[in-house]
């Protein structure tokens, strides 16, 4: 029992369970799943589907935070990759003899590759600034955060680029074996990342960089290339999230795509039990954290509270989680607890 209570995933899972329990009583038919046209429908599927981009961003952010870093340019990267994909695939409606035709401007695979390339470039830029020049991560990624959306708007001339190419929509709203395709992408990214961290020494290396970068370097780790790698990886995750969001809303909006996504991702990682001070991290925890955020949003909308409450609730949750994680709070708690035990004895 004691072991269970102190498992790192206990608290995030408990939070999610409580939320789901609230939903069970507050929202009729919350756990109801049904099959329509061979697709599985239901609130749970909906939540998971909508959480997909956030989960991707949170997976990337986990590794960055594990090295004591932070990446606040995730939203800008989402905007850039989404915009590039939307423009290459078919942003402009082509008129041929007065008949609008919706042909992809560039073959979809090339477009996706170029969009991912753009995302990787963003990651490499952040990586060079943090690992190469040694800038503080928040400052280094702030630069891309400020300029990234400007770049995306520069590509599109400030317009919202609409996509009219059916196969591309599959990425965000398609179904495979009755489940949303986005869930398969998320599962693939999660499994590959988890295997990479567990089966190779990469996870251990990242953890040691987070706990003490100097000691890690003295122990012979190539800390600079490791840190470079996590920023590129985080941007790659953001790139996929950008493709997914663009495909889902069938357009790319350089101004609003992925707005505040970095903050939600950081929140998800924190909720999942990863310490912002680096070192210990939990990939599964971040996924659960992202699900908590999405469930919370869904709950607030469904219960009938105004959507505006969402931000207030989120911020209160961050305050509570942060305070409960701090060692000062734990000391106070323990002191109060042991005092009451002594008092009883």
């Amino acid at each position: 029992m004691h072991k269970l209570l102190h498992h790192p995933l206990f608290r995030p899972l408990a939070a999610l369970a409580i939320l789901l329990l609230v939903d069970l009583f507050m929202i009729p038919g919350f756990f109801h799943l049904e099959i329509k046209d061979g697709h599985l429908y239901g609130s749970l599927i909906d939540i998971a589907n909508r959480a997909a981009p956030l989960i991707l961003a949170a997976i990337g952010m986990t590794l960055v935070i594990a090295t004591r870093g932070i990446d606040i340019s995730v939203g800008a990267t989402v905007a850039i990759s989404g915009t590039v994909a939307a423009m290459l695939i078919g942003g402009t409606m082509v008129m041929e003899n007065g008949v609008p035709s919706y042909v992809a401007n560039t073959p979809m695979w090339i477009a996706l590759a170029v969009a991912m390339g753009a995302a990787l470039l963003c990651g490499a830029w952040n990586g060079v600034l943090v690992a190469g020049l040694g800038l503080q991560p928040i400052v280094a990624t702030l630069i891309l955060m400020v300029a990234g959306r400007g770049l995306a708007q520069l590509f599109t001339d400030g317009q919202i680029v609409t996509v009219y190419y059916q196969p591309f929509f599959f990425l965000g709203s398609g179904y495979l074996f009755g489940l949303p395709f986005s869930l398969f992408i998320v599962a693939a990214v999660f499994i590959v990342t988890a295997l990479l961290l567990r089966k190779t020494a990469l996870g251990l290396f990242i953890q040691s960089v987070g706990i003490n970068p100097v000691a890690a370097r003295l122990a012979g780790l190539k800390t600079a290339s490791l840190i470079f790698f996590v920023y590129v990886f985080c941007a790659a995750c953001a790139g996929v999230a950008g493709l997914m969001i663009t495909s889902n809303i069938k357009s790319a909006d350089a101004n609003n795509a992925g707005l505040l996504l970095e903050l939600d991702a950081i929140l998800a990682v924190t909720l999942g039990g990863t310490s912002l001070a680096g070192g210990k991290f939990s990939l599964a925890g971040s996924v659960i954290g992202a699900l908590i955020i999405q469930t919370l949003t869904y709950t607030i909308y469904s219960i009938g509270l105004p959507p505006e409450v969402n931000m207030v609730v989120k911020s209160v949750v961050v305050f509570l989680v942060c305070v409960s994680q701090s060692s000062e709070f734990k000391t106070i708690w323990r002191r109060a607890f042991s005092a009451s035990v002594k008092g009883n004895a």
Partner: protein
């Protein structure tokens, strides 16, 4: 030469030089750009940003960061508009209350940062969510302000030598002057620099670190609220979407003004040059007419990059000595 480039005021001088180049280029390209009124307009349009940047300077000098300022600004415009339009309270009382709320908000975040040893980044991030959320709880729509005092303040033009300046701009400059005095001539100011340099040492020197840190964030909250009041003079409305991303502009202004983001190094006056550089970039782009507004963001990002690299090179050189 070497000693010149590594002197404390070097980056600040670069910014002043940059500002002169920007204004000079504007004056050479567009007739009428170099008039006194254009300079005053820079101040009038960016008064709220200047006030926020002053508060942010204190936070950054102490080695922290405050991401909540933009939302606190929006919250202040919302509270002002709400109290004036719904309750019809006297405007001076409304302003006093909103300044107090901003200050308390900042102080609460400062207390959390200090007493629970939390990262300023995450606490003020949550504060940013909270303040924006509270805006929407008040109203999701924009509220127009029709109070006579606010309208008078927004229309007032104080003439100085054929040109005019708004009361808001004067308040901003006044705030800057007070902040410069506090930062360089008071024990509180010296404590800020000491904490930014090394918090451990500051504590061992017997400085009141706890009180100073809470006060720094309280001051930043106050500045954000004051900026909110100026912003509502300027816009005559309260709206939850006001000033989105202003915290980043303020950080950019402080960095471009020559303050080191790792703390303990720089001048509060840099906030003014930083804000003026950002403002003149915007004005240049507006005068040009062919360039679109997103170029502003790209240029600001580029400038941030250059200044961060310069700072980094300087500190590396400093460490080698």
């Amino acid at each position: 030469m070497r000693s010149f480039t590594s002197s404390p005021y070097f980056t600040s001088l670069i910014t002043v030089f940059l500002l002169i180049v920007l204004l000079g280029a504007g004056g050479a390209a567009y007739p009428g750009f170099l008039s006194l009124q254009v300079l005053f307009n820079l101040l009038i349009d960016n008064a709220f940003l200047l006030v926020i940047a002053v508060g942010m300077s204190f936070v950054i000098l102490s080695g922290g960061i405050d991401l909540s300022v933009g939302s606190v600004l929006a919250l202040t415009t919302m509270i002002c508009a709400w109290m004036l339009q719904t309750w019809h309270w006297p405007p001076v009382l409304v302003i006093a209350i909103s300044l107090a709320i901003g200050t308390l908000f900042g102080a609460a975040m400062g207390a959390m940062i200090h007493y629970f040893k939390l990262q300023p980044f995450i606490v003020t991030l949550a504060g940013m969510f909270l303040a924006r959320g509270l805006c929407y709880l008040i109203s999701i729509n924009s509220i127009t302000i029709e109070d006579p005092l606010f309208v008078a303040m927004s229309q007032a033009q104080l003439s100085i030598a054929d040109c005019f300046i708004s009361p808001g701009a004067l308040i901003a400059v006044g705030t800057l002057a007070v902040a410069i005095y506090v930062a360089h001539c008071t024990p509180f100011g010296r404590a800020i620099y000491a904490i930014g340099g090394n918090e451990q040492s500051a504590l061992m020197m017997g400085l009141r670190v706890a009180r100073t840190k809470v006060l720094i964030y309280a001051f930043s909250g106050f500045c954000a609220a004051l900026a909110g009041v100026l912003f509502s003079f300027y816009m005559l409305s309260g709206y939850g979407l006001h000033a989105q991303g202003t915290e980043l502009d303020a950080i950019a202004a402080v960095v471009i003004g020559g303050t080191l983001l790792s703390g303990g190094y720089g001048y509060v006056a840099g906030a003014l040059t930083g804000v003026l550089v950002l403002g003149s970039i915007q004005t240049l782009i507006a005068f040009d007419g062919t360039l679109s507004s997103w170029w502003t963001k790209i240029v600001i990002g580029g400038l941030l990059f250059v200044f961060c690299v310069v700072q980094r090179v300087m500190t590396m050189r400093g460490n080698k000595k």
